[in-house]
Structures are given as structure tokens and as C-alpha cells.
Symmetry: C2
Subunit: 246 residues, 2 copies
DNA sequence: CGGCGATTTGATAATGGTCAAGTGCCGTGG
DNA sequence: CCACGGCACTTGACCATTATCAAATCGCCG
């Protein structure tokens, strides 16, 4: 199962032999992209999608006043620009945050797959709906007080990382700067720093050196008012997380 | 063309005769729902979708502290709970804001249609992607200063209303209370009031008695940093708006 | 007329932004 | 080996935006 597309779809639905075969024939182009590069830019009309295989990328917009606003983070298995399959033009930038390994897949191949296999289309559609659910949650989250906001963000990232199998001992690689966090939460960098210190001294988390550790999942989740329903994770992933984290 | 589903899909793609016929056979149930009622609740597992035919509804979440946060408004033609087709469980409430006319469509019928007609599936998928784009924009918008936020919201609503043919003379029905606006923007009701006064006295808008009028589209859009790209409106709708509004 | 919800206004307080300066940690180059 | 430069992080002081509390007004419907 070296094929990342096969891996992702197999996680989402039980694949038949013919579906596996069809997915196996989709040509992928694997590329490594270094940190802080654009994968796709606002206004682009791409003819392919990018699946993140490793590293962290983000969706961002630049406001009229020039400030960058991150609206989502993406980890392994995500296809951050799947929307380009149906929308004429990108309305956001997709950028690497850390160095990323990316698999490019032509739109034509995805369309071919979807037209012939309704269940695959439904699975991909579903994944875009989950993205939308996460955007909704961010809209809610952004209006919270600052410690709550950061706590919620950390819970979300950890839960998704865990579902992707990237967490051991409540710890995961998360090479984000405080500047990145400030662009994602809408807080000033200075205030991110102070809020992080509060979370740390409360014994909730460790964050630094490219790693996030959650010491008190219950406490962090209740502070951030985090309920994982909106991530629509498979039931078994949630169970695993509860065992692993609490 | 009394069939609202046919009308919506015809606006999105050029329909073939067989597609028209298939859509025409989808059973719809038209219902009138009075203001401030739930259409679907968080946690529900609906077996049907709701298309708004008239009135205004919203997507909302209730935070742990009990505050309601509106994440989207819906107007005629929107299917706010289309996500329920693929997600196990609703992660938000869908509620009427004004009295609404709603067409209920069984999931089974939509699936039947999508499985047989890839272009219809793609059109509906596309509409969920536009919803996601709007959520992204709200995430960005929510972090702006208050006059900017309200200006942006008004621009968005007006642009979508215009595309739906609900605007005459830069004016549309918008029976929202200041409380609704505060729940949508995350501002306090008091501050919404003061910000509205600023917009009014700046000659940008009139708002009250269930009507919104934009007197200075250019000014409002530039104040709110509004660029309509993210709405992915059909090109002709944009042209119409520019003529009508500027 | 009474009452209720929506809107308006005023005064006060706090969250969080901004400015400014300083610290610590590398990797580079002399 | 050490000095330098850059970048992320940290800290302190001040101030603007906006929330909160409280009360008054308005309009509408029964």
C-alpha cells in the first residue's frame, strides 16, 4: 500500500477489487516541496490536485491590508485543493508550512474515477464536506477568547494527527512557529506567546522545538470547548484517541 | 419551472432532456416553517435534505458557554444541509431566521439522481464547495475590525441575493435583527448597533424595517475588503450586479 | 392601555493590539 | 574557534477596540 490515494480511500470506504484496480491505475507524481512555498495560488486554474503525503501545509488568504490569514492546516492524507476539481478558480492560496511531500493527481484522472465509481466520488465529496465542517468550526472558534482558541486548535490538530497515525504518547511533530499560530488564530504574535506560556504553566501542553505534547487532554479540551464530532472521524479512530490520550 | 430543484440545477449547468426528466421525477415536499424554528438539529441523522425556496435560514452552533454562533445565512436555492447526504451526523443546527418555505428531498432520491447522472452529482458537489469557500471567507472576515466585518457581510448577502434575482434598486428584503447580526459577526449587540449607525451616517447603507439598501457599493465593498471571487458566481450574474449596483 | 422585543444611549472595564527593546539560538564565514 | 547576523521568541509599557452593565426609548401587537 505505497499508493497514498489508495491508502486514503481505503480508510474512508471498504474498497472492492475493481475499485482498487481503478485507483491503482491513477498516475501520481510525487514531489518534495520545501517550506514556505506556494503549492497553488489564489486565482490559479489548476488541472491537477495535490495530496499531502508528508509535512504540514495550509490554506491561506491575503487580506486587502496585506495580512495573511490561515484558514486551515493540512496533514498527510489531505487533498487541500480538491475544490479545484469543480471550481473554476482558486479562492485561496495553498502553501507549505514545513517541507512537504506532495502527490499530484490530474483532474482528468480523478474525474474518470468518479464518473465510473460513484462510491469513490461520494468518498471524495465527503472529504470536502468534512473540510467545510472544519471551516465552520474555525468560524466559531475564532470568536472565542485567546486561551480557548489556542487550546481548541491544538486539540483539533492532535485529534486529526492521531487519526492519521502520527501521534505517540500524546505527542506529535508540529513544526509551527508562533507566527504561524498567530496567522491561524488571528491573535497578534505577542499575544500568542503569552497565551502559550499560560497553557504551558497550566500544565496543559508542551510546545516547542517542532513538537506538541498534550499533558492534560481533558483539561485542554474543556478549556477549548473541543468536541470532536465536527471532524467526522471514523469511530475506531476516536476510540483509539480516547484510550491514548486520557 | 415551478420545480425549485430543477430551477437551481438549471442555473448551475446546461441540462439535457434526460437529466430534466430525471430531476422532474424527484418527489419534493413543500413546507412553510415559521421564524426561529429548527429545520435540523446538531446530532440529527436526517434522511432528507432541505432546500430553501423562500425566506432566510442560517447554520448555527451553540458553544459550550451557551452562546449561539451563526456560521452562514441561506437564501432561496440553497440546500443548507446537503452535507447530511454524506456525513453520518449533523454538526450544526439549521434554523429559520424568518418564516421560510422549504422543499424537502429524500436522500434516497438525491443518491439515485447522482449515481445515474454524474453531471448532477458534480453540480451538487460544486455547490457544497462554494459553501466551504464562503466559510473560509467568514473565517477571514471574523478577524477584521467591526465596521469592516459588517460591511463585508452586507456585500456578500447583497451579491448572493442579486444572483438569486432578489434585488431591485440595490435594495433587498433582509429581515435580520441586530441580534442576528451580532451572532453572525461575533460582535456584541450593542456594538452592532453603533457600527450600523456609523455605516448609515457614512451614507453607505440603509438597514431597518426588514430591508437592506446599499447606497454606495464601491465604498462599502472597499471598506469591507469585499471581492466576490470566493462566491464563484456565474459570470453573467456578476456583470448584472456591477451594472445594477455601481 | 400594557407589555414585550428590538433598538438606542451612556459609562466603565478588560481583552488584546501595537510599539519597542532585549534575549537566545543557530548557521555562516572569517 | 569565535564573531556576526538573522530569526524566533520573550518581556514590558501603553493604548485602542470592543465587551459589559444598566437604563431609557420606540414600535407594535394584543
Amino acid at each position: 500500500m505505497a499508493n497514498p490515494l489508495l491508502k486514503k480511500l481505503a480508510q474512508m470506504i471498504a474498497l472492492s477489487a475493481s475499485e482498487r484496480a481503478a485507483i491503482g491505475e491513477v498516475p501520481l507524481r510525487l514531489v518534495t516541496i520545501r517550506a514556505d512555498q506556494d503549492i497553488v495560488r489564489e486565482g490559479d486554474r489548476p488541472s491537477r490536485c495535490a495530496m499531502i503525503v508528508g509535512g504540514i501545509s495550509c490554506t491561506a488568504k491575503v487580506t486587502g491590508s496585506g495580512r495573511r490569514q490561515i484558514t486551515a492546516f493540512h496533514i498527510a492524507g489531505d487533498i487541500p485543493d480538491l475544490m479545484s476539481l469543480h471550481l473554476d478558480q482558486m479562492d485561496s492560496d495553498i502553501q507549505t508550512v514545513t517541507e512537504c511531500e506532495v502527490a499530484f493527481i490530474d483532474h482528468a484522472a480523478v474525474r474518470f474515477l468518479c464518473e465510473r465509481h460513484w462510491r469513490i466520488a461520494a468518498a471524495l465529496w465527503r472529504s470536502t464536506l468534512i473540510d467545510a465542517a472544519i471551516f465552520r468550526e474555525w468560524t466559531v472558534n475564532v470568536k472565542r477568547r485567546s486561551p480557548e482558541r489556542l487550546a481548541h486548535l491544538f486539540c483539533e490538530v492532535m485529534a486529526r494527527m492521531e487519526a492519521a497515525g502520527l501521534v505517540t504518547d500524546r505527542k506529535c511533530q508540529l513544526r509551527l512557529t508562533q507566527g504561524d499560530l498567530s496567522e491561524a488564530t488571528g491573535m497578534s504574535p505577542v499575544h500568542v506567546n503569552r497565551t502559550l506560556q499560560a497553557l504551558r504553566s497550566g500544565g496543559l501542553i508542551s510546545f516547542g522545538n517542532g513538537e506538541l505534547t498534550i499533558h492534560d487532554w481533558e483539561g485542554l479540551a474543556s478549556l477549548g470547548d473541543f468536541v470532536s464530532d465536527y471532524l467526522h472521524l471514523p469511530q475506531d479512530a476516536i476510540l483509539t484517541r480516547d484510550v491514548a490520550l486520557s
